[in-house]
């Protein structure tokens, strides 16, 4: 049995698939592939056809990676070569020099005339003429330099082309063998010799080469090659329509937007009164104590340092304002984000709607959505909180969804098998198991909110961001750095405290 197997293994004809794969010139590739596959060292071979007709060989053999790389490399070297041979490098400069010489001559004549007439400005004419002549000489020098550069370009281009031919020749068989190996795993991979593919390759080259070469080599340009035929009116009507939409919404939804503002304001006021109104030693003690209980004495030490920095440099009130803004935004993010994340994990439809919305919220530059926020909510702290929420919401939603989805199916099944209801499953199984992921999401959300502080201050959300903004306006480097450090310390403080929530297990064990 065993001997039979080995015998049949030896009898497998490895050449057959190679023939099937290459179709044409199979004898040649058979030889090289076999050598590549049997050599323990690098097998060096040179494929003349691939060297000479690189992209065309690749196209006919459906090796499209090779096709694009070699087509682009050859295009670059052709541009260099073309610029060197046909390009009018330095031509512009020479023309400029001619003009300058003529001008200088003119000035000199004028100066001579003025001198003859005994006018006072003769000297000025001569000085101008001198300056112009010097400029002209510079232009001539530059032109010569360019001309030299042009011949250099030609040499580089030719050299590059030669090197490309060599590389093509030496790598073609190895690349083709790799494709053969992939084809053996997956018959969908391009194989054989196809005239259609060759024609397709030629068409691509015929489209790219003339236009690009013309653009880079010729001195004069055809306008449609350089400029896209864009239509201003489309842009204008769309922008105008959007404008009227915003106006319409702002007008008709005023009550709705006001209500949101009110709610946020109420919330924000409460936090701010608590943080700013309470005597600073009490707040300071509470924060240090909290960080000690949650994250240990090390974090408490950092927190104390950060807080004393804020206090000594006079940032206390501003940083408390910032933290209350941040706190309001973060709490709203979590209160909305965690349930939304759970819904996304449970319901595919909601997930497919939410995902692009989150991408949009996170990717859209903050300055862009500041505009509608101002339009709808005006300026001040509540719109600042809103802008912060938009930017900060995605991580907590995403990581909650991820956390719930990562709960092992076997554990969920186990809970269900004992009669667990859906509510209990969520509260007692899924959320506890997703806890770490959710906490990571909350941490991310808070830090992202903090990074919005400066931008939120643009629309009147006062706090540490305002100081940075002012420093930016007046180029006050020292002030800016100090305010920036204050934001940084706030971030470190919050991060340390929340990090502590991640590791309760290790402390107890």
């Amino acid at each position: 049995m065993n001997t039979q197997q080995t015998a049949s293994l030896n009898q497998v004809d490895y050449t057959q698939p190679i023939q099937h794969f290459t179709q044409r010139q199979s004898r040649y590739y058979q030889g090289h592939f076999t050598k590549i596959q049997t050599d323990t060292r690098l097998h060096i071979s040179f494929n003349f056809f691939a060297a000479l007709f690189g992209p065309l060989w690749a196209a006919s053999r459906s090796v499209w990676g090779f096709f694009w790389v070699s087509a682009i490399a050859i295009l670059i070297s052709s541009i260099l070569l073309g610029q060197g041979i046909w390009g009018e490098a330095g031509g512009g400069k020479l023309a400029q020099a001619d003009r300058l010489f003529a001008k200088s001559q003119e000035m000199a004549t004028k100066g001579q005339a003025a001198l003859n007439n005994g006018e006072a400005n003769a000297k000025a004419f001569f000085r101008n003429s001198d300056n112009l002549r010097r400029a002209a000489e510079k232009a001539v020098l530059a032109a010569e330099e360019n001309a030299k550069g042009a011949s250099q370009n030609a040499i580089y281009g030719g050299l590059l082309l030669f090197i490309i031919f060599l590389i093509q020749g030496f790598t073609a068989n190895a690349v083709y063998e790799k494709q053969y190996c992939r084809w053996r795993q997956d018959p969908e991979v391009g194989s054989g010799f196809h005239i259609k593919a060759l024609i397709c390759g030629i068409a691509i080259l015929a489209f790219i080469y003339p236009l690009t070469l013309y653009r880079f080599i010729s001195a004069e340009q055809i306008s449609w090659l350089v400029e896209f035929p864009s239509d201003k009116t489309i842009f204008n009507t769309t922008a105008n329509w959007l404008n009227s939409m915003f106006d319409f919404l702002a007008l008709n939804g005023a009550n709705f937007f006001d209500a949101i503002t009110q709610v946020i304001n109420l919330f924000l006021d409460a936090i701010e009164t608590l943080l700013v109104g309470t005597p600073w030693p009490v707040i300071m003690m509470l924060i240090v104590f909290t960080s000690w209980r949650i994250s240990g004495y090390k974090a408490a030490f950092y927190t104390a340092i950060a807080l004393s920095y804020l206090a000594f440099f006079g940032y206390w009130e501003k940083s408390m304002a910032t933290i209350s803004l941040l706190g309001a935004a973060a709490v709203i993010c979590v209160v909305v984000g965690v349930p939304l994340g759970v819904l996304c994990a449970k319901n595919k439809t909601i997930d497919s709607i939410t995902k692009p919305a989150l991408d949009f919220m996170q990717t859209m530059p903050a300055f862009v959505y500041l505009i509608p926020i101002i339009a709808f909510f005006g300026t001040g702290k509540p719109p600042g909180v809103l802008a912060t929420i938009i930017f900060g919401m995605p991580p907590v939603v995403r990581l909650t969804t991820l956390g719930i989805q990562q709960v092992p199916a076997s554990i969920v099944e186990g809970a269900l098998a004992f009669g667990c209801s859906r509510k209990k499953l969520l509260l007692d199984v899924e959320l506890p198991l997703a806890k770490e992921s959710i906490l990571a999401g909350i941490n991310q959300t808070i830090l992202m909110c903090l990074s919005m502080v400066v931008i939120a201050s643009l629309i009147g959300a006062e706090g540490l961001g305002t100081d940075v903004l002012q420093a930016l306006q007046f180029a006050a480097k020292g002030q800016g750095l100090l305010a920036g450090l204050a934001i940084l310390f706030c971030a470190i403080m919050i991060d340390r405290i929340i990090q502590g929530l991640f590791k309760p297990k290790e402390k107890t064990e």
Partner: protein, 348 residues
């Protein structure tokens, strides 16, 4: 009330987007699995399975991976809904239960043990065991008391306040068993509970389990891919292949009379010394064509239920054939050394 606690009648399960259509087609046209896959892109998980399990019986379902045994056991507590057929547990049609009634049945009447334990990693051992009781809404004190008792049944007293990951695999599985026993259910479902454990621990747990079920008298459906395990544990064994039950019988029936080559292949490696008894290999004593002469006075006697193993021990002490007696003490058969050797080899 019948003594059958679990009853399955013509249960089918077809997986896929067009499962209902496929089920219709199977019913009306009697398609086979390959055709169902080809025409509907649906996989037949369970095909026309019927069996009954009596009260306090241990019913083993043996099959290789992919044979549908895990799918089948999940029908019993409706973790998977059947495409067709009847599933009755404790005289209740499982498919007809309302969600609330189903939850209650699962919590009270059916305990399940999983191959990968499926313990809640953030809860202590005691709280894991108490989970089914918690689901039923029992007060904390009662939950704790019961979970202590259940843990003592599986010899895990003293580990109540550990977390599952602090325990070894075997101990974790015992926690799983304790959880299944906590609400004192009538039915136990065991889904390859010992497969992921190493052989020594597995053996130990098997013995512990047999002892436990003997005392507790639970109706048990036990899934395994190991015929040795099935024979050691099961009162009856069902052999499953590609979603069909191909043979149901006692361990002895399975080993002695395999229904087809597939089963025969399985039982080939099984030692039959403990399974086969004197009755099944003896030659009838009143058979006139007996090739041996019997000395009724000097010959040793053995009960008809004596195992081959014991017969070997007996036969090395004598040169004479052994006489087999029935419960009434009458001589009913005879076993010579030839017969014994043939019996050990599995020849009739």
């Amino acid at each position: 009330m019948t003594t059958d606690v679990i009853q399955l009648e013509n249960v089918w399960k077809i997986f896929g987007d067009r499962a209902e259509e496929a089920m219709q087609a199977v019913k009306s046209e009697g398609l086979d699995k390959a055709t169902v896959l080809e025409r509907f892109g649906c996989v037949v998980g369970i095909a026309d399975v019927s069996f009954k399990v009596a009260r306090s019986e241990i019913f083993c379902i043996m099959g290789l991976s992919g044979s549908g045994k895990s799918t089948l056991i999940r029908h019993l507590n409706r973790l998977i809904e059947p495409s067709a057929g009847l599933v009755k547990v404790l005289d209740q049609d499982m498919s007809a239960l309302t969600p609330n009634a189903l939850r209650e049945t699962r919590a009270k009447d059916i305990g399940m043990v999983f191959q990968h334990m499926a313990l809640l990693p953030h809860r202590t051992v005691a709280d894991n065991v108490a989970f089914p009781l918690e689901v039923q809404g029992l007060p904390k004190a009662e939950r704790w008391e019961t979970s202590m008792h259940a843990l003592s049944l599986v010899n895990l007293t003293g580990y109540e306040y550990r977390l599952p990951h602090q325990l070894s695999g075997g101990m974790q599985q015992r926690v799983g068993l304790a959880r299944a026993l906590a609400s004192d259910p009538e039915v136990l479902l065991m889904d390859e509970p010992f497969s992921a454990l190493d052989p020594l621990i597995r053996h130990e747990l098997q013995n512990q389990f047999v002892q436990l079920t003997k005392n507790l008298q639970k109706t048990t459906v036990f899934i395994t891919h190991d015929l040795d395990e099935a024979i050691r544990i099961g009162d009856r064994i069902a052999i499953m292949k590609d979603g069909c039950l191909i043979q149901i019988g006692t361990p002895e029936e399975i080993v002695m009379q395999p229904a087809d080559d597939y089963v025969a292949d399985f039982v080939k490696g099984i030692s039959n010394l403990k399974l086969i008894n004197a009755h099944s290999i003896m030659l009838a004593i009143n058979d006139t064509t007996l090739p041996i002469s019997i000395d009724k006075t000097a010959a040793l006697r053995a009960d008809e239920n004596t195992s081959l193993e014991a017969l070997i021990d007996l036969s090395v002490t004598t040169t004479l054939p052994i006489i087999v007696t029935n419960d009434a003490g009458q001589d009913i058969g005879v076993i010579s050394k030839d017969t014994l050797l043939k019996g050990i080899k599995g020849e009739e």
